[in-house]
């Protein structure tokens, strides 16, 4: 899993690839990572509540998954701006 780990959570960092059947696929620096969503998964953007519908492809996310979690159910998901790191890098080069 591509991650930071602090506060008891692994942090999956990347951009949304897709979400299907409550399984979120995140493109990280080391490949795609899948995490599950549950009813308890909290989704926020700018410290405001957000919805599953806001998890659009290309959106930057930081997903907190309890450390050593076997089923990889997301505890919380923070949403950021849209746009992949690759796209940003291309914009920066122009």
């Amino acid at each position: 899993m591509q991650l930071f780990a602090h506060g008891g959570f692994d942090h999956v960092i990347g951009t949304v690839v897709k979400i299907e059947y409550r399984v979120l696929t995140v493109k990280t620096a080391k490949g795609n990572v899948e995490v599950k969503l549950s009813e308890k998964t909290e989704i926020t953007k700018n410290n405001q509540k957000a919805e599953i519908a806001d998890l659009k492809p290309g959106t930057r996310v930081v997903v907190d998954v309890p450390e050593s979690s076997r089923d990889k159910v997301a505890h919380s998901i923070k949403l950021g701006v849209s746009g992949t790191a690759d796209a940003d890098a291309q914009r920066a080069r122009k």
Binding site: Q2, L3, F4, A5, H6, G7, G8, D10, H11, I13, G14, T15, T28, A29, K30, T44, N47, Q48, K49, R60, V61, V62, P66, E67, H75, K78, L79, G80, V81, G83, A85, D88, A89, A92
Partner: protein, 203 residues
Amino acid sequence: MNKAGWFLLGAIALLVAEALAAAIALSRARGVSAQEEPNGVERWIARRARHVAVPSGARNRTNPVSKTQEVLAEARAHWADHCFSCHANDGSGETAMGRHMYPQAPDMRKPATQNLSDGELFYIVQNGIRLTGMPAWGGSDRDAEDSWKLVYFIRHLPDLTLEERTQMEKLNPKGLEDRNEEEEEERFLKGESSNTPQQHHHH
């Protein structure tokens, strides 16, 4: 002693011996590992023991501190600094420490905690709970006042807002490395960093 008395005594001795044998077998099988969760029986016995152990006078005490917004804010900050590591800001116990204790830190938003009286909550904060990770925070008059304020905050946990939790995150005790990682994540989310952060893993 008559025959019935001897029979009863023998039956009790047999039960005690069986319970001891079962306890020894269980402890040998599981050792002193804190990896597993307490089973339902252990949990029930522990809660009953805790209930009995709190003196009735303490259980019936009422909160002597006036409830104001300032008191709540103070208790929230206190919790974020002292209690977060095991109980999490929202009282869920979803932290590395809380999850790996034996027993695990409880979800304090649930009835098992919220149904305790103010006096019981205060007593537990002040005196801790033996054979768990809950330390005793009492000692001085100032500690007692802080503990009563925390009782108000514990009551507020089920209604904690996202805004309050966000404020608390800034007060949580964290190391420099954690702070740096959080800042890097924030920059990434805001689009200020074009690179997806690289892998870090530590406890």
